[in-house]
């Protein structure tokens, strides 16, 4: 165990950004989250600071005894800078909630960022397992191993009929949410996305923006997850989401084929213009950058753009965010300066990829 070090973190991409795995152009990454709470304590939002501190001590103690965290990094959210908190959120290691509530909140993660544990989030314990590409099985195994190893160390809130007890009844039972980060430009352009969202909702799955609950859907990136956690065993939840995602991938492919059939030249133009802008522009904001990256990604998927690896596209999504840009420059930047730094970062990344 050692303290979290922002420089070490930004020095390499996280496990989920590798760009490996099945369907890696459409599905960026897979994630499994398991929620647990300690017995005999109030839920996080109902605790005073003393109780939060007690939960933190017990949880950290239990977590650091596990084999998964034999090598680990620990961050006390209240003691690191707001930029470092932002950095962790941009890498999906902590939720955005941790940016605003940081006292007695903690994070433990493996150096390769494949497993993380948030302490005192909405639930006392939020375990996350990550995998690159469409690989829900690996993401689940990573989270589940930590849960298995931590359980004997802690007294968890459990009910014989209702399963693991959580602050919000939507997570009750398995406490599990599995999700993929998925790129759906075909369905967005063909305007079929709303129909899909509606259907998914009815089939007990949900879809949200790039940074989870309440965040915008930018650059055609979505998070698709199960929304029911009670009454279905973990392996079936994983299997159901997998089947759902396979269907969505098939619709996305069909939508892309249709688009290319109807407007081949127009689409090729859109892809190459986007590539040109990213390769040569001198200032670009996040929203525009995400939209251009999406178009290039579509071009990579269609075999038009050959010299940009998926891994580079994945890294761009993270490294063009404000805290990452500021870390790289070693100074705080105002929004205009960030746009300039962002354009420079993207130019370098694409130039390196082309060589």
């Amino acid at each position: 165990m050692s303290a979290f070090d922002a420089n070490e973190l930004v020095g390499h991409p996280g496990a989920w950004m590798e760009g490996t795995g099945e369907e890696n152009e459409i599905v960026l990454s897979s994630r499994a989250r398991i929620a647990r709470n300690l017995s005999g304590h109030r839920f996080t939002h109902h605790c005073d600071n003393a109780e939060l501190g007690a939960i933190m001590r017990k949880s950290l103690d239990g977590a650091l005894r596990t084999r998964v965290f034999a090598q680990s990094r620990v961050a006390a959210m209240g003691e690191i800078s707001s930029q470092d908190r932002q950095l962790l959120a941009e890498r999906h290691l902590v939720s955005r909630d941790f940016l605003f509530n940081s006292a007695s909140r903690g994070l433990v993660f493996t150096p390769d960022e494949s497993v993380g544990l948030m302490i005192n989030e909405e639930d006392h314990l939020r375990i996350q397992g990550f995998a690159s590409g469409f690989d829900l099985g690996t993401a689940f195994r990573r989270a589940n191993d930590l849960d298995d190893q931590m359980a004997p160390e802690l007294e968890l809130a459990y009910h014989q009929r209702l399963g693991f007890l959580t602050a919000c009844p939507t997570n009750l039972g398995t406490g599990m949410r599995v999700s993929v980060l998925i790129h759906l430009p075909g369905l967005v352009h063909s305007k079929e996305i709303h129909k899909l969202l509606e259907s998914l909702r009815k089939l007990n799955h949900s879809i949200r923006g790039l940074y989870g609950e309440g965040s915008d859907t930018m650059g055609n990136f979505f998070q698709l997850s199960n929304s029911s956690a009670l009454g279905t065993p973990e392996d079936v939840i994983v299997k159901n989401l997998r089947e759902m995602v396979l269907k969505v991938i098939a619709y996305e492919r069909r939508a892309r084929e249709m688009l290319f059939r109807k407007a081949q030249t127009l689409l090729e133009d859109k892809v190459w213009r986007a590539y040109g802008l990213l390769r040569y522009s001198r200032s670009v904001n996040t929203k525009e950058a995400l939209s251009l990256i999406s178009a290039v990604r579509l071009g990579v998927g269609a075999g038009l753009v050959k010299d940009v690896p998926v891994r580079t596209l994945n890294e761009l999504l993270v490294y063009i965010q404000p805290a990452h840009l500021q870390m790289r420059q070693g100074t705080t930047l105002d929004p205009q300066e960030r746009d300039v730094a962002r354009a420079a970062y993207i130019r370098d990344a694409l130039a390196n990829a082309a060589h």
């Binding site: 009929r161 509606e198 009670l230 269907k247």
Partner: protein
């Protein structure tokens, strides 16, 4: 209580449609599994094979009868059911026992189930859960005695004894 599937009579009916049998219309109420067995694609809609006929018909009804009771208080943390309705979070693990009657329809709506399946707690956590449950029951017991409801008090006492026996077996 939600309607049960008329084929398996076990799972809740979520797919409702009309079938023509011998030239008369028959209303069908099936669970997703049985509907799929009968070749109904519950994932079908429009061009996209998701939901189709069925999509608009999936049960979203929530019993409102239990929602009227909002004044119940959790002995574990002092939370009231109305707090949950305001905040959307429960106060502590014991709230699930305190507000069970109100939560059942909510769970059915959100999860389509009220019974956990899957991974279980370790024996260690199971014992902790029993201890929590006993603490809640002892609170109920003293309330029942104060209210001079001796019949209820006796029932609670028996339940506590049963749990104590379980804890001893497990240790």
């Amino acid at each position: 209580m939600s309607m049960l599937c008329q084929v398996c009579k076990k799972r809740p009916a979520k797919v409702h449609y009309t079938e023509i049998v011998n030239q008369s219309m028959v209303a069908m109420n099936l669970c997703v599994e049985c509907a799929e067995e009968r070749g109904i694609d519950v994932h079908k809609t429009g061009n996209y094979g998701l939901g189709d006929l069925v999509a608009g018909l999936i049960d979203t009804a929530v019993d409102s009868e239990a929602e009227r009771i909002t004044k119940v208080r959790c002995a574990g943390c002092g939370y009231e059911y109305s707090d949950f309705k305001k905040i959307g979070r429960l106060g502590c693990p014991q709230c699930y026992d305190a507000f069970e009657a109100q939560l059942v329809p909510v769970l059915r709506h959100v999860h389509g189930s009220t019974q956990h399946a899957g991974k279980k707690a370790t024996a260690h956590s199971e014992r902790a859960a029993l201890r929590d449950r006993m603490a809640a029951l002892r609170e109920d017991l003293s309330l029942a005695i104060r209210a001079e409801d001796y019949e209820r008090a006796a029932a609670i006492r028996d339940e506590i004894r049963g749990l104590e026996a379980q804890v001893e077996e497990g240790s």
